[in-house]
Symmetry: D2
Subunit: 337 residues, 4 copies
Amino acid sequence: MIIVMKFDASKEEISNILKEVRKFGFKSNLSRGKEKTIIGLIGNVAAVSTDHFQLFSGVENVLRVSKPFKLASREFSPEKSVVRVNRVSLGGNDVIVMAGPCAVESREQILETALKVKEAGATILRGGAFKPRTSPYSFQGLKEKGLEILAEAKEKTGLSIVTEVMTPEHVPLVGEVADILQIGTRNMQNYALLEAAGKYNKPVLLKRGMMATLEEFLMAAEYILSNGNSNVILCERGIRTFETYTRNTLDLAAVPLLKELSHLPVCVDPSHATGLRSLIAPVSKAAVAVGTDALLIEVHPHPEKALSDGAQSLNLEEFSKFMEELRPVAVAIKRRI
Amino acid sequence: MIIVMKFDASKEEISNILKEVRKFGFKSNLSRGKEKTIIGLIGNVAAVSTDHFQLFSGVENVLRVSKPFKLASREFSPEKSVVRVNRVSLGGNDVIVMAGPCAVESREQILETALKVKEAGATILRGGAFKPRTSPYSFQGLKEKGLEILAEAKEKTGLSIVTEVMTPEHVPLVGEVADILQIGTRNMQNYALLEAAGKYNKPVLLKRGMMATLEEFLMAAEYILSNGNSNVILCERGIRTFETYTRNTLDLAAVPLLKELSHLPVCVDPSHATGLRSLIAPVSKAAVAVGTDALLIEVHPHPEKALSDGAQSLNLEEFSKFMEELRPVAVAIKRRI
Amino acid sequence: MIIVMKFDASKEEISNILKEVRKFGFKSNLSRGKEKTIIGLIGNVAAVSTDHFQLFSGVENVLRVSKPFKLASREFSPEKSVVRVNRVSLGGNDVIVMAGPCAVESREQILETALKVKEAGATILRGGAFKPRTSPYSFQGLKEKGLEILAEAKEKTGLSIVTEVMTPEHVPLVGEVADILQIGTRNMQNYALLEAAGKYNKPVLLKRGMMATLEEFLMAAEYILSNGNSNVILCERGIRTFETYTRNTLDLAAVPLLKELSHLPVCVDPSHATGLRSLIAPVSKAAVAVGTDALLIEVHPHPEKALSDGAQSLNLEEFSKFMEELRPVAVAIKRRI
Amino acid sequence: MIIVMKFDASKEEISNILKEVRKFGFKSNLSRGKEKTIIGLIGNVAAVSTDHFQLFSGVENVLRVSKPFKLASREFSPEKSVVRVNRVSLGGNDVIVMAGPCAVESREQILETALKVKEAGATILRGGAFKPRTSPYSFQGLKEKGLEILAEAKEKTGLSIVTEVMTPEHVPLVGEVADILQIGTRNMQNYALLEAAGKYNKPVLLKRGMMATLEEFLMAAEYILSNGNSNVILCERGIRTFETYTRNTLDLAAVPLLKELSHLPVCVDPSHATGLRSLIAPVSKAAVAVGTDALLIEVHPHPEKALSDGAQSLNLEEFSKFMEELRPVAVAIKRRI
């Protein structure tokens, strides 16, 4: 941590800071520049807020020079992590495709989708039983009934299941069926939920908050990791910007950047990011080319009848064609789908 | 709801839409323009997603012309709502000041603060017992112990209490002490929490998500209202933008706009919005001038020792001076503090 | 400037940096922390880009600790600047109101507006002769003819004139009539224009780019100041965010912040920021309460007939009432309108 | 254009609107819904501002249903445009790589770079002679001398030249050397410059404003097209968001979307978007996979000595390796580099 003093800071103000630094048990390094005096803190400052020093008289700015995340950081775990979900490895050489409808709507819908996405090459089935919706008047999911349907699809197809959990008390309920617990964008900083998922023994797909910086995203992962669960998959799903043609702005540069900053596997969700069916294929190819370890794709047997997010879903035939187009891109960067 | 067809939409595509509209039991109105054909839907379309029609072949765009919120809307409740909290009315002619530290840290800190902010003219004491923090390694609040301290301060001073609740299962625990339940910016779309607060019989201070549009903000209020609790106070606390000098960008134009769109009282939190102590006084005057019904101000007896957010807290003396400066602004717009 | 080395930076990498620092003639200060080594640069580093050092092997981050603006900075000119425009002083105790239509449309429109806004208390007449428009098919202003009309209004009423200049070669033409040259939000980083205005002997009203940070805004002012013109007025007019109810998001906290960072007078334009007539009065009161030195208000004798921006214009009667409401707010903070 | 009336709009208010619509020579279509009355305008409304009707009493909202751009629109020119630059075609099957330093610094630097990027497969040389810089104290380019150097490089290597023009009066000067005139992100709405480029007979590479919507971007292109120059290349270069790890957020979904909305060729600039050398290769592969027609890559023989933007430049060897890695991705989507 570095404390920049105001250009007219007095000797007493500087000496107050040095005293405070010693109270915390840190060493300090004083550098008098032409215009400013700068104090460097030496010690384990991760737990101290920059706000603390900001407040002292004579201080202009306090800057953190270490990353605040540790367990999620590649500095401390240089090796890439691989998350194993039954027979599938996320973070290895294969690019994993998770596919299925936004919401579980019926037994027929899920079983038909599961068989067809498996045939096309997906290895994980997605589908929401509990649905977070902006409006209290919108369809909120089939809940327990939806979980049962997913369990049946899993048994019949051997596909693993990823599905969303919205509250801490639902973690064991959802975890009984899910092979991967999904935490949605609106819950990225629902700390009680992060802690509950951190204490549960199933991989977690953590979606980036639509207004979260990469640092906040990795700090949210840190909540899960520091509660004992090391199987976290980071999912970029678009951030909110001023642009309104697309639902959100997909931040694909975040994929290689997250892999520099962290050892965790990275997934991309082009369906929610763009909200437009015609963009799913080109954007997914880009996601593979930029290095994602997995894709989360909305597929629905009859998108025009979907109760949620139909406008961004591929139908079963489109999905099959989509997978064919995707494979050569993976090969071009020496990976496999 | 209005459906804009593509300029080259076929007769069949148009007729498909008209059939679908009838299925929902809506009437339609067809308008053939020079370039585009437009279909207006007549009926109660609030529960139908625009996505549904977006998906049909030949459709260019689907626009909603009614607001999706009803109970929160001023169209349907033209009278301003007043939320009563013990002897205080939010939404009336008085501008209410809620003051206190970011976090409850000790009995002494809270009692000293409570006495002094009351003396200066605050009528509600704020202070977090449960604290949402970006880092799992930061101080998370005194929890139950913190609630006890707040209860004591309430008994000793007669001040009402506003304090944050972070999970649905904590609603009754926090509600026993709190006169107003606060729902924080990161939880604005934590629907389980909104529902729990909606079913509980205490006023709710709902903070705008730092990433939320006003429409989403009012839809979050709609979750509380539609669960039976009509005592909601909307709190603007800054939105996230590209500007980094301030912690967030306070959207003061949202205050009169929320009052046009909704009948609910509005509060402003300048402390979290700016993150800078020197801006609290001028920005609070602006908030009063723009028409806020309440202010939420961070006050700490020793900001330099605060465990959280010290940099944006006023000390007790500063708060007293602050209240003095604020009063003439309220008078200038014919209100009172 | 501070260079943070990667936690595994080698001795050689560190020594390379120290060599490079010496090449620039700077001194350095080396601080070896527990995890990171940090190098402080001592000397006049304002002209060196942080990018330069970012590139060296072993470097994690390069941070600037001094502000890059000098002439605009309050550190170096602690006294507030006052810009004099004929009988009016911007930056003194009076809050100055500049009023008039978005665009000059006719002689009658301007003369009628000028007389009435003067009567109501405005001292500067605004009106665009050259209009920047998003669409090439929109009305682009009366140009030279518009300037003539402004000159006549000035002669008849004694009001000073503020009007926009869009290209460097128009500076002398517009400057002949204008008492204040306005540089619009889209031209805030049109450097040729900033330089031309910097070399011309008239005050400049510089609007913040809708995409500009405060630092970039002050750097744009620095372009004008460093070319010799010290009469710059900074105008906050709303920034672009994800919120769409208002045209832009007015950043009122920027007003006191700009006054901390700079000695230059500050103006607020609530008309363009909100785009909604009903918000002009409350937001203007807030702007006065937060400490603005001036307001820029759109007034039109017949807003429903305006060729540009009618939706955000007050009519003459509304403006008169608006001024009445504004005065007590100025008095409440010991200023005058 | 659609006018939505307030739910309590009076008959008179509605009839006023209808009268106004007739004045413009438009037809109208009236639809009385359960809650709202809606008026559709039929006729060529592109030149009428939505603001105009917004202002009338009783109006809630005015929506535009046609795109405001015409010449840039794919609706009116369904065929993809190909821009020819000497022997190179932008918008055809080949993906074109434009490479070179941010700024022209010396004859040696440019000649060495030109030879090497040509060898590696680039067909267009980039390099700025006139440089827009945030600070007036930064290096502003070699100007005329820089153009001479570019002309020499062109002659020696046969590469075409793309270089930035910053003011209308420089268009002929820069156009003498440039094969493509580049208009930078800060000048995207410098209308005088757009008009001058529109009247000049050279292709224009128009960079998206860092805070511009796709609609504004296409409207800026419309300025060039409507002045007679049909050879416009649209360049996505990152937009400004709240994320600070990368310089800007590259909006790759904009590439297929621009191609749906417009017939113009699209280019991607990953260097400015990310600002980080390590991201150039993965992000460029993504840009190719998503369907860009061209890439703009910063290459410098000695990035650590660059006077501008060194941190995001590849060196000559890295660029050569970069081109090798890129080719298979183009092949995977049946294109060629």
